[in-house]
Amino acid sequence: MNLDFSFKKLPPTYITLIVIFIIFIMLLPLLYLLMRVIDVNPEILNIFFSMNYLYIIIRSLLLMVLVSLITLFIALPLAWINVRMVLPLPNVWAVLLSLPLVIPTYVGAFIYSSLLGPKGVLQDLLEVLFGVNKLPDIHGLFGATLVLSLLSFPYLFLILKSSITNLDSTLIESSRLLGYGPTKTFFKVSLPQLRPSIIAGTLFVSLYTLSDFGAVSLMRYNTITWAIYQQYQSIIDRSLISLISLALVFIAVIILFVESRFRSKSKYYKIGTGTSAKHKKTDLGIWKIPVIFLFSSIVFVSLILPLSVLFFWLIRGLLAGESLMFIWVLIYNSLLLSIVTSIATVFFAMCMAIVLVRYNLAINKYLEIISLAGYVLPGVVVAISLVYFGINFFGFIYQTKILLIIACVILAFPVALGNSKAVLLQINPEIEDSAKLLVKNYWSVIIYILIPIMKTGLIMSLAMVFLLTMKELPATLILGPLGFETLATSIWNSASEAYFARAAAPALCMIFLSLLPLILLMKAEGKSEIV
């Protein structure tokens, strides 16, 4: 990897080649969609514009809006109280409220349907106690919204928590001194300052919901991604899939565009230099008990309840003679996929970031837009397009793990790129130049100066990609070589046929495997807050 960041006109050849390769694989899904759309005949168009597909799009949008709003209403108060109010053990609460992040939505979906669904645990219990033998079905919009909200609010919580921590508290104090009480100050000063991160965080949750496949499929809520998957499995003609996918991409691009408009208009960055006073936490007074109750109930429903249900099914399964032998293969496969993907993605992202940050090229703007592909394209679409290219052009890697890893790299690339850019921006080229003047050997500069500075950022990138890939489902389902099962696919296969007991062990394994990177991530984030 080229770490010689001094300003030159063009990046070295090997970096250029790597960037060309990245752009090539990023463009594959888009290329595929466009190629397919050209094939569209009027008949397909008629089907697409039939009410059926319109409803699917509306259903997706409805779910997206509901989940975004609910997560915002959960995450904003929690983050605000966690940072700015006196609460016992604030860091423990922060960790507990972030942990639901490691539970994949399809695991959450099977947990809640096994708990609240017909013939579920709750109904069993109510039947014994009160003779209730029928509960309203939670499948559909309600179930999907519940699962996605409870499992995706931690993303927003983490984003908001860090921006509330970085909020300049003298702004709030100035407003108080100018005669505004705490409530008015919150709405007139704090909230406008938080707006960019509220928008960015909500955007993330919207796109996450839009591209979710696991929860909607298990909750049998027919959305775009679910429709794409069904089409993929049933029909030979793929142009309908492409149309639906394009609709999805179109929605995602509109959301991104609206966000960027908001961002460029706003003037929210910190002005002036100097230290902003440390946060003075407000005492909750009589509200302490209700607030702790609120925090506990959210931790209960989003973390403790799902974990307990998993343990319940695990024990029930073991008692019924489920074997745990197969699990080692699944763990091996999942780890292999996640680790290789993390390293590859971070390596590629670093190369791209070097070009974007250190070279002022005319095409940089387009490179950046293309890099976002994984952000707007759901896993299902990426996977289907790679199947096409695999079959038609790259037969030698079709049905191998390489194609699967490429899909995972495309999907995780935007996250890793954002992080790598931030890391590189931290390294002032002058630091490097001064190091070069002090040490003759450039390798010493890399080992003693650059790697220590970048370490935290690189660990964060690796951990994020690992977490994403560990949970990745649709690409693995579609692209995995025959007989290749990961924890994710095994959970989905068992859960979609309601073998909950069989899904419990892999689900628990996946959650525990995800804990380590999450802890690394939170630690690294804590460090970067101090800097």
Binding site: L171, E173, G179, Y268, I271, G272, T275
Partner: protein, 353 residues
């Protein structure tokens, strides 16, 4: 002149650490008070206590004969009508200059609001920037907006926390004069906190020197400079050093000679015999080449009209800066020199505690 602020024996603890210790002082209407102290001495905390951003542990803060803080009572900052300019100015980035300044005028109708904003814009000479956003202004302009925003609601007291620390030297000099005029014109009682002695002297009617959470000396600036009450105050307000001296039968002996002396607040006879610290100010001495001298020349900076000569005490380690404007000099960097008393004023001595 009426009493605006009365701090009665106030104390503040952060955990076990007492940041403000039994502090006592008054501010009268229209006065400008500078609080001088090293960083960490509690001066910012004092401002935050007065403004109500921090709660008091002991004592009482009375503003315009109303108790605002006491050990059991705390009036919130939005009910005190106290203005504060923060070190980082803390302008609202999402509002333009007009809205920043009008922010505190919440009970004004539209017309009055516009008039008042116009008034303070004029005082602070910001008329042309009214539609700009804070990040489109220079440091000095941002500070004037912060000042205008604070002045607009006509606060009872205005607090300034290290107002010049984020400005470059050139802007700082310009703002120092500006600030003084703005405060005088608006007739608002002001407390300015700083660690820079020149800022403290330039702007204030009174000077309070703060050491370790307490006010050690409170007087007019020239009085403090002429008679610093103890070593800490002298170090803060003067370019000076301390030599060890011995008083023997009413005579002060030091390594650079015997001198007449005076003590502050005591008769010379009261101090008795024994070791004292002698305040050495460059104004009282000339430099003379002396191979056996107790001082060494560390640096000579040519400044055009004069040279700035820095010498270090060989025995005590302190540094003194001398202005030297004679053409001939017998010494160079590294030479030993001695100090020769250039006037007949008695030297100030402090009793060892």
């Amino acid at each position: 002149m009426s009493l605006v602020l009365n701090c009665k024996k106030i104390s503040k603890y952060f955990g076990k650490y007492q940041v403000i210790k039994n502090l006592d002082f008054q501010l009268f209407s229209g006065q400008i008070l500078s609080i001088l102290g090293t960083s960490g001495c509690g001066k910012t905390t004092l401002l935050r206590l007065i403004s109500g951003l921090e709660e008091l542990d002991k004592g009482e803060i009375v503003i315009n004969s109303k108790t605002m803080s006491s050990s059991g009572f705390h009036s919130p900052p939005d009910k005190r009508n106290i203005g504060m300019v923060f070190q980082n100015y803390s302008l609202f980035p999402h509002m333009n200059v007009f809205n920043n300044i009008a922010f505190g005028l919440k009970n004004f109708n539209k017309k009055d609001k516009e008039n008042r904003v116009k008034e303070v814009l004029e005082i602070t000479r910001l008329e042309e920037f009214v539609n700009r956003y804070p990040q489109e202004l220079s440091g000095g302009q941002q500070q004037r907006v912060a000042l205008a925003r604070t002045l607009a609601p006509k606060p009872t007291i205005m607090l300034l926390d290290e107002p010049f620390s984020n400005l470059d030297a050139f802007t700082r000099t310009a703002m120092l004069a500006d600030l003084q005029k703005i405060i005088r014109d608006s007739k608002i009682s002001t407390i300015l906190v700083t660690h820079d002695r020149e800022e403290a002297f330039a702007t204030s009617d009174y000077l309070a020197v703060m050491v370790n959470g307490g006010i050690v000396q409170f007087d007019k600036p020239d009085v403090v400079v002429r008679s610093p009450i103890n070593i800490d105050v002298a170090t803060l307000v003067l370019n000076c050093g301390f030599l060890e001296g011995i008083i023997n039968n009413g005579v002060l002996n030091t390594t650079i000679g015997n001198f007449s002396f005076k003590t502050l607040g005591l008769n010379n006879t009261e101090i008795g015999d024994g070791k004292v610290d002698v305040l050495i100010k460059p104004e009282d001495f000339n430099l003379a080449y002396d191979p056996n001298g107790n001082f060494k020349v560390i640096s000579i900076e040519f400044r055009g009209m004069y040279s700035m000569v820095q010498v270090q005490s060989i025995n005590h380690g302190f540094l003194l800066k001398f202005i030297y404007n004679q053409k001939e000099q017998l010494w160079n960097i590294g030479s030993n020199v001695n100090l020769i008393k250039s006037n007949t004023d008695p030297l100030i001595v402090y009793r060892r505690i």
